[in-house]
Structure formats: C-alpha cells, structure tokens
C-alpha cells in the first residue's frame, strides 16, 4: 500500500484553554486534490499550520509521507493567505517567486541564475511573466495570488498547502488556479486547499475534509460531501445546498 501524503492522528490544539482542534484524525492519500472546509473558527488554517510545524499541538501526531514534517520540508510547498504579508515590502515579483527556492538553497547560499530561470518559468505558468520586474505593491489581488502560486511552484514540492487561494480573486484567476491545481494532481502531487465556497467543492476537488473543531468527515467528495455531514459541520445554515447535492 502506498504511504499516505498526510497522516494526522488525535491532533488537539488549544489557545489557552479553548480548543481549536479537538482530537482530529485525517488521512490524505497521495495524489489527491483535497479541500478543507468548515465554518469560520473551525480550525482550517490551524490544521495546515500545525502540519507545517508552525503551531505546536497540545497532543497528537502529524506525519508527512510517513515521517515528521521537519524531515520532509523539502517535499512540501506552502501558500499562506495572501493578506498575511505586507505587499508594500520593497521587492519585485521575480524576487518573491525566487523565495520559493530558498528552502532548497538552505542557509547562506544566494539565489543565482538557475533560481531566476525557475522563477521566470513559474511566472510564465501562471501568466505573470511580463510582471517579473514589477514592484509587488502594484499588483491586484488576483495577481498577488498568482505570484504566491508561482512561488509555490518553484518549490517543486510533492505536497502543497494553500490557504484560501481563491479569496478575493476574479473568476478568470480562479479558473486559472483550479486548472493549475488539477495539473499538479495529474502530475502525481497532493494538494490541500483551505476552501470557503461549498458550491464548487464537488467540481474542483476529489477529496474533502470537513472540520468544525472536531473532524466531521474526511474522504472522497462523492462519499462524504453529504447534506448530513454539511449540516453537522455548519449547523442548520446550509439548507440552500441541498438542491446542488440532491444525489443522496
């Protein structure tokens, strides 16, 4: 049996005495495109951050391709929320994309010509090559997201985490991003996306984890993305969805 891309067991995370994630299990097979959905405060971002070792869990274990994250860094790419950085920072688009290569370079080594080529290549893939020399503050929201995506692409990872990549982007960019994510999956990579728009889950993703502090469900979209589970995750607030998901 192939090893899972992610194995989360009994993960519990608390801020002070308030649990953010409670005894969560999650298994993500390699080669899936997975959405993490759940209401605000359900712990979606916390989940990603704890897998990446950015938040220390109170209890539980996280394995990435069967080993602790610290040993597997080089296999993992990360796209934080667009709003988490200062877009007025004095740097160029190309420079931001090259930051994706820093992990492979390690301490002290400087990015050179090959990093530049990789970054330009990635920018080309997201349709932003002509913006390479632009100051990042001149980008629109959708362009910022594409730059972040390009930065993840140059990481050349096996497993990608993306925190709300569709937030505040226009329809064209959303389509472009989805196509790119599906290409990554076709290339055998695993992609985990914190997602907000329930309507598009069946169309974009093949695997889904539904969270609300506890794990509600985790599995193939066709099996677990049900009205019943949605109601469990969101309370009674998703009645409007039953029309789209009437197959059960």
């Amino acid at each position: 049996m192939a090893v899972n891309a992610i194995d989360v067991t009994d993960l519990t995370i608390a801020y002070k005495d308030k649990p953010v994630l409670w005894d969560v299990d999650m298994e993500v097979p390699s080669g899936t495109l997975m959405a993490i959905v759940g209401p605000n405060g359900a712990g979606k971002t916390t989940m990603i951050k704890s897998i990446l070792g950015l938040i220390k869990p109170a209890a539980g274990q996280v394995l990435v391709y069967g080993k602790p994250y610290a040993e597997q860094r080089h296999l993992v790419g990360y796209v934080p929320q667009r709003g988490s950085v200062d877009w007025d920072f004095p740097t160029s688009v190309l420079d931001v994309v090259m930051m994706g290569r820093y992990g492979a370079l390690g301490w002290l080594k400087r990015p050179g010509a090959s990093e530049r080529v990789a970054a330009l290549d990635a920018l080309d893939k997201v349709g932003m090559k002509s913006f390479a020399e632009r100051q990042i503050s001149q980008l629109s929201g959708g362009q910022q997201q594409r730059v972040f995506l390009a930065r993840a692409l140059v990481q050349d990872a096996q497993l990608y985490f993306m925190d709300e990549p569709f937030q505040g982007v226009d329809a064209t960019t959303e389509r472009a991003i989805v196509t790119l994510l599906q290409e990554l999956r076709s290339a055998g990579k695993t992609v985990v996306v914190v997602h907000h728009d329930l309507q598009t889950v069946p169309e974009y993703f093949d695997w889904v984890t539904m969270l609300n502090v506890r794990r509600i469900a985790c599995g193939p979209v066709s099996e677990v993305f049900t009205d019943n589970n949605l109601r469990k995750a969101y309370g009674g607030k998703v009645a409007f969805l039953s029309a789209e998901n009437g197959k059960h």
Binding site: K49, L52, G53, L54, A70, R73, V76, Y78, P80, S84, V85, D86, F89, P90, T91, S92, D95, V96, M99, Y102, G103, L105, W107, L108, K109, R110, P111, Q135, S137
Partner: protein, 368 residues
C-alpha cells in the same frame, strides 16, 4: 586627523551602523522598538557596571545586549496577553526599565562617568579627546574603534544573512515552514539593535541613535522599491545627515547630536515631499493628471453623445459645458484648451466638434 574630521567620521560610521538594522525595524513596523531598546540598554550597562566596577569591561556590552532582548521579550509577552496593544506595551516597558536605571545611577553611581544627559545626547564633541593608545602611539579616538567594530558586525550580519532576513521580514510563515527559524532571526536582529545602541550612544547619544535608525530608512523607503537599494540609500542618507548636521552645528554653534538628528528629519522631509514616485508632490501631480485625463474623456463622450442631434449647437457650446458637466467655467476653459492642444476637439463659433482622435477616444471609452 583633525578633530572635525574625526567627529564627522565617527558620526558617519554610527549613522551607517544604525541604518542597517534600522531598515529591517522600519519594514517590520517596529520603529518604536529602537527607541525603547536604545534607552533600556542603560539598565543592562548599569547592572554590568555594578558587577564589574569598570566602565570599559566588555561585560557592559553583554549586559546591554541582554537587556535589549529582555525589553523585546517583555513587550511581546505583554502584547500576547491581548490586554495591551504593542504600542502601549512598548510605552509601558521602556520607561519602567529606563527609570530603574536612572534611579540606580543617581543613587549609587553619582560619582562615576555615567550620567543621564550623556546617555540622551551623547558627547560627540568630546569623542576626539578619548584616544586609543598602544605602545605610546596614538591610533585615533577610541570611539572610532568601538563604532567601527559595530558597523563591521552589522555589515557582516546583513550581508551574510541577507536572504534569510528578507524572507523572515516579508513572510515569516513561509520562513518558518522552510526551516529558517524566523524567531531566532528576530532575536538576533534585536540583539544587534541593542549592541548598536549601546556601542553608539556613548559617542552620539540615544536620541541620535533612534534618529539614525528610523529617519534614513523611512526616507529611503520612499525612494526605491528594492530592499538592497533601500539599504544603500539609507546608509547614504545617514552619512549625509551626519556630515551636514555637523556643519549646521558648527554654524549655529549648537549641539552636534541635535543638529545631526535635525538633518535626519530634514532628509526625510525632502524625500517625503520630492520622492519621484511616492513623494507628496508626485502624488499631487498624478492626481491632477488623472483629473484632467478623466475630464478630457468626459468631454469627448459628452460631445459624441450630442453630435447627431440638433441640440449639438446648444449642448456643445463651450459656455454651456459648466451646466452639463458640472464644471466651473474656469475648469471648463482649461479642459477645452487642453483638448484643443491635444487635437481632440475643434472649436468653431464657440461650438465644439470632435476630431478623429477625439472620436476614437470617446468610442474607446464606450467599448470598455
């Protein structure tokens, strides 16, 4: 070397040494931390002095650096309780630590060369009197070596860890995920700020340390959009402020440190007003241009809308534009003038008609 040149040289070295970590403080929105650290290091010095009974012991530097890190930790601790915001936390921590140091000095060290005036304003004018002598030879003022050492340290740190500093400042989350330990980098930077503050303020005083750390980077931030250039410009602005400040003090017969600090402020003001892209004047000019561009488009569309009808005669009369487009007569005349010069409209008997390029502009706008 004459005393004048020595003073300017020391001040310039301090300026560059301060701007290097200062750039990262400004980009991390931690400018006020420099103010806090440059004062609280005094307590570290005082305590280290009580232990060693010497004002020249290197332990003083260690004590100062430790106190700087403690200051940052305390501010972050307070901030993390979410009961106090960061700016208030700085305002709480720094006077508390500083005042303890002041009390200790006034109570127990009254007879030592450790007075609070010197801490705040420095003794730049006396720096050349303190010579570094070896085997009876004069190797120049001592301050030249302490500040030079600090400059070298900062320069090496920024050059060696440039990539790591940039990533940890721009995107700490990615830095952590990639294993670049942004917290360690953060505290290394804070230690450097503390060492810079303590190594410099003996020469120039803490007010000038803060001025050098913040004003040149803030000015450089408006002049460029590349980090490497921001570092270079900050250093140049720092040196300019130091040298011009010296001459300002010379001609006014005033405090040297005060004049230099004033010049850092003046440098920032110049950049704030005249920076080619982001300065106040450039912004105002851009807004004015946008206003005119928009008015020209409105004018062409207005005329295009009313060409066919008989009303053209009335609607497109220059004197009626102010009614239809809600422009003042003055502004209407100005816009029409510009439109004519740009070959967008022609005027006959006070009635406007579109030229070909004016027509193109109007229809482009419709298709958008």
């Amino acid at each position: 070397m004459s005393a004048q040149i020595e003073i300017m040289l020391i001040a310039s070295i301090v300026a560059v040494a301060c701007t290097l970590p200062g750039v990262f403080l400004v980009l991390r929105r931690m400018a006020m931390m420099s103010d806090a650290i440059s004062h609280t290091v005094l307590l570290g010095i005082v305590i280290a002095f009580f232990i060693t009974k010497s004002l020249t012991s290197p332990l003083l530097l260690v004590g100062a650096a430790l106190m700087g890190v403690i200051t940052v930790s305390l501010v972050e601790l307070l901030n993390r309780t979410r009961l106090v915001r960061e700016d208030a936390a700085i305002g709480l921590v720094f006077p508390a630590i500083f005042s303890v140091a002041v009390i200790l000095i006034s109570r127990f060290a009254g007879d030592v060369h450790l007075d609070t005036d010197a801490v705040l304003l420095g003794e730049l004018a006396f720096a050349p009197f303190n010579r570094f002598k070896l085997f009876g030879l004069d190797f120049g003022p001592e301050a030249l070596y302490t500040t030079g050492g600090i400059l070298a340290l900062n320069l090496i740190f920024v050059i060696v860890f440039y990539k790591e500093l940039k990533l940890a400042t721009f995107d700490p989350a990615l830095a952590a995920a990639l294993g670049f330990l942004p917290t360690v980098i953060h505290y290394a930077l804070m230690t450097l700020v503390s060492l810079t503050a303590v190594g410099s303020f003996d020469a120039v005083g803490s007010v000038l340390v803060v001025a050098f750390m913040i004003a040149p980077p803030a000015a450089a931030y408006l002049l460029t959009d590349r980090l490497s250039r921001m570092l270079v410009y900050s250093a140049l602005i720092g040196v300019f402020s130091a040298v011009s400040g010296y001459w300002l003090a010379y001609f006014l017969d005033a405090s040297i440190a005060g004049s230099m600090a004033t010049m850092t402020g003046a440098s920032f003001l110049i950049s704030y007003l005249f920076a080619p892209e982001r300065g106040l004047l450039a912004q105002a000019r851009r807004r004015q241009n946008q206003r005119i561009e928009f008015a020209l488009t409105m004018l062409t569309m207005h005329i295009a809308n009313h060409t066919a009808a008989q009303e053209a005669e009335i609607e497109n009369e220059v004197v009626h534009l102010n009614e239809h487009l809600k422009w003042t007569p003055q502004f209407a005349m100005e816009v029409v003038g510009i439109a004519e010069r740009n070959d967008l409209v022609t005027q006959r008997n006070g009635v406007l008609t579109l030229t070909e390029s004016g027509l193109r502009r109007a229809s482009q706008e419709f298709n958008n």
